[in-house]
């Protein structure tokens, strides 16, 4: 158990676990400590206490990092697959779509469910959010939801009118409240109403939670469900009680449907309610009806397109691979996974560009960093320390300072162009475009990341004994051969470390490409930022981020295998 913590040879001397090992080897019975307990047990206890003490010191920071950093990363990974918005906003529709064949426009039942979901969503103002979410998958859905949100109030108005024509009482909120609410709830609501009238405009107490009358849900299942929703939304959104508001038109429609199914509903009620229900139950057979599907097609004909329904169905599960597919230029369609249309395949291009430019930056860093590291490691200590300052100063200077310096230098009216014009290499009217393109990004980022190449190279080269080169030369090698066969192979670990470091840093860069990259020199990280703050497609941003994170973690693992995390040096 304890032996796995430190190997026998890692720590020598009188450490508790070494003593345990010695006690294990002892032959003549258990060794006892001064207090008479077996030495082994005391040592185990001491070791455990030491471990706990170390963990106790680490714990605060570990918890801090887990909460402030690891949890956010986990949240991002979660968001890249999370997709509860469809089931949360359209629960009935999603359930009704379960046995849809995916070909034709769904049947009446689905539209019925949609009408109920939409009313609630509109009142809670969540339908536009869902519209934008589905719009990422099929353009046009956002405006479809907006349009429907404006008109869906009227669904069921015909039924409402007919009920009210039957008896004026159906227009009264109290009629509905007494029909649906339990006695306890009604008295609570009356008290609340009294307090509200007294309190005037400063009254801000929430109305009591709605409670359904016993047995109503058996005879009027749909109506009571709808009315509960109505009461809940009124309370949560407007701070109103249903005793003071006329129910949604859709409630009349559900009442109509319930009464058509359960003709003996009136038996459950007493007094005025029973009379009303009785009267309505007899009349509903003669009611004029509407076709729900036609109503929605009149609102917007996109409801008649199988593509709209296909999208809703495809994204109705609480978890989706849709964001990752989108990040790979694929899309989830009713017929399965397909490639995006040619003109919308941007992520593959962006990933390729990010990798390509990071490679270019990495190679420029080797080309520029290698000679410098070689010079520094072969100069006398005093001179090399002085020159090292020239490397460390950019390393310590604010990233934005260096980026703004390049922005100033590379401009068309900037210093470099001025110098070139002055020398006469380029004409005044043909100033070079060096910024807001790939060139600008590569130059600026090479400058910014160069110290990260020089420092590991330098630390490796310092350990290469100069006598090896001299030995090679004395054996007849030319300068070049000695360098190629003897010096260079020994500096490869430094190149590896520097390359991975520069590569890891550059594929995740955001600020510099954003400022000097224009449109052709931007990286995948700029797209992530765009999706977070501009297009608000957080799921896609999370998916792109997760892919990038995986790439970085793999590279980091390689770095750890080659160099070791403990050897991260800060100059």
């Amino acid at each position: 158990m304890t032996d796995s913590t430190t190997g026998p040879d890692q720590v020598t001397g009188a450490t508790p676990d070494n003593a345990i090992r010695n006690a294990d080897r002892a032959e003549d019975g258990p060794v006892l400590a001064a207090d008479g307990k077996p030495l082994k047990a005391s040592l185990h206890r001491a070791l455990r206490r030491e471990k706990l003490r170390a963990l106790g010191l680490i714990a605060p920071l570990l918890i801090f990092v887990l909460v402030t950093f690891i949890a956010p990363i986990a949240d991002m990974l979660f968001r890249s697959v999370e997709n509860q918005i469809v089931t949360e906003t359209l629960p009935r529709t999603v359930a009704a779509l379960d046995d849809w064949d995916g070909q034709e426009v769904p049947d009446e039942r689905v539209f019925d469910a949609l009408a109920r979901d939409m009313i609630v969503a509109v009142e809670e103002k969540t339908h536009t959010r869902l519209g934008s979410r589905l719009n990422y998958e099929t353009t046009g859905i956002s405006s479809l939801f907006r349009q429907t949100g404006r008109d869906v109030d009227d669904v069921g108005e015909l039924y409402a009118d007919q009920f009210i024509e039957l008896d004026e009482a159906w227009e009264e909120p109290m009629t509905w409240a007494t029909l649906m609410g339990s006695e306890d709830y009604l008295s609570e609501a009356r008290e609340w109403q009294a307090r509200a009238d007294e309190g005037g405009m400063f009254f801000d107490e929430m109305p009591p939670s709605f409670e359904l009358r016993d047995g109503v849900s058996d005879v009027l299942p749909q109506t009571s469900e709808m009315f509960q929703q109505f009461a809940r939304v009124m309370r949560e959104q407007n701070g109103e009680a249903p005793t003071g508001e006329e129910p949604w038109n859709i409630t009349y429609l559900t009442l109509y449907e319930d009464l058509s199914t359960y003709t003996d509903a009136a038996d459950r009620f007493s007094g005025q309610s029973a009379e009303l229900i009785e009267q309505a139950a007899q009349a509903v057979d003669g009611f004029e009806t509407t076709d729900m599907r036609q109503t929605f097609l009149d609102i917007d004909e996109d409801w008649g397109s199988a593509e709209t329904w296909g999208t809703i169905e495809a994204f109705s599960s609480p978890y989706t691979s849709g964001y990752f597919l989108a990040a790979a230029d694929l899309q989830l369609t009713p017929d399965g996974v397909e490639r995006q249309p040619e003109d919308q395949r941007i992520y593959g291009l962006l990933f390729k560009r990010t990798l390509f430019m990071s490679m270019v930056i990495m190679f420029s860093c080797i080309a520029l960093g290698y000679p410098i590291a070689y010079l520094l490691s072969n100069l006398p200590m005093r001179t090399s320390n002085l020159l090292l300052i020239l490397v460390l100063l950019p390393f310590w200077t604010s990233l934005l300072v260096r980026t703004s310096a390049w922005k100033v230098l590379l401009q068309q009216q900037g210093v470099i162009n001025d110098v070139l014009v002055w020398i006469g290499i380029v004409g005044d009217d043909a100033r070079l475009q060096m910024i807001n393109n790939q060139f600008g990004t590569i130059v600026a980022m090479t400058h910014i990341l160069l110290p990260f190449m020089i420092l590991p190279l330098y630390s490796v080269m310092k350990t290469i004994p100069p006598s090896y080169m001299r030995a090679a030369k004395s054996l007849g090698a030319t300068n070049f051969t000695a360098f190629r066969r003897v010096y260079f192979p020994q500096s490869i670990p430094g190149i590896g470390a520097g390359c991975i470091l520069v590569f890891i840093l550059s594929i995740g860069y955001y600020i510099t490409p954003e400022l000097v990259g224009g449109t052709t020199g931007t990286f995948i990280s700029n797209r992530i930022a765009y999706h977070i703050s501009t297009s608000l497609n957080w799921g896609l941003a999370a998916a792109l981020g997760s892919i990038l994170l995986v790439v970085v973690v793999v590279l980091y693992w390689l770095y750890d295998r080659i160099v070791g995390i403990d050897n991260v040096s800060l100059g």
Binding site: T15, L47, E50, K51, A54, L55, P60, L62, F64, V65, T68, P72, D75, M76, R79, L368, P371, I372, L375, N378, L379, M381, N385, V391, L392, L393, W396, T397, S398, L400, V401, R402, T403, S404, A405, V408, L409, Q411, Q413, V415, D418, H447, L450, P451, P466, L505, G508, Y510, I511, L515, S525, A529, I532, S533, A541, G545, L548, Y556, I565, D566
Partner: protein, 285 residues
Amino acid sequence: MAIELPPYASTGQKIWHYAYLVICGLIFFFLIAPIITIIPLSFNAENFFTFTPGMIALDPEAYSLKHYRDFFTSDDWQQALRNSLQIAPVATLLAVGLGTLAAVGLSQPHVPARRAIMAILISPMIVPLIISAAGMYFFYSRIGLQGTYVGVVLAHAALGIPFVIITVTATLVGFDQSLVRASANLGAGPVRTFFKIQMPLILPGVISGGLFAFITSFDEVVVVLFVGSAGQQTLPWQMFTGLREQISPTILAVATILVTISILLLTTVELLRRRSEKLRGMSPG
């Protein structure tokens, strides 16, 4: 030394040798010139980003402190400076306090799952900033910290922690554990031992870790862009928007001030490093 030319070098070797030195000189120029160039440009009397003919002729009229005046009188910049100075020190204190404690814990001989713990603690340095920023934006808006001062401070502290851990554990490598045992032997409790014995010896590492954490927070822009709101607009944020939208020469004045600060910090860290090596009996670099 390999850099010195032997007296018997051939002409070809001499040419190669001098060409190499010139190449190195050019690379050093590439490293330093952009930073140096902006310093005189920040004293430009005009709103240009290049040297005016007057400046090249060293005409005193062509130089002015106008952009510095802008910086010190503009409300936006001053507010940004204040925000930076309110966020960075608190984040640094958090990072240094927790980080030093944990580094002491990590340097004990028996730490279960040390590699895993180390990987978690170092991760804020490894994960690209844009990913940290995205994750923090999502998570902090869930728990109501997005757009608050506390949120930005916590985020910056998390980013600074790896630097504290790395520098302090590096100093603790050379720390002689028998000193702690000697102190305990003489009757000092663990707290007293820490402050009287361990702390003074690892102080250089703690301070330079703190400087790293400070500069990380002070220079950080990606995370604050997402986690912060208008109320936490820091100096780098102000520079970022300035560079992206309407680039004004005041940025060069700010940049010059920041370069001066980084020179001071660099000197401090270098001095501390030498002191620490001296304390640990290594030869000063």
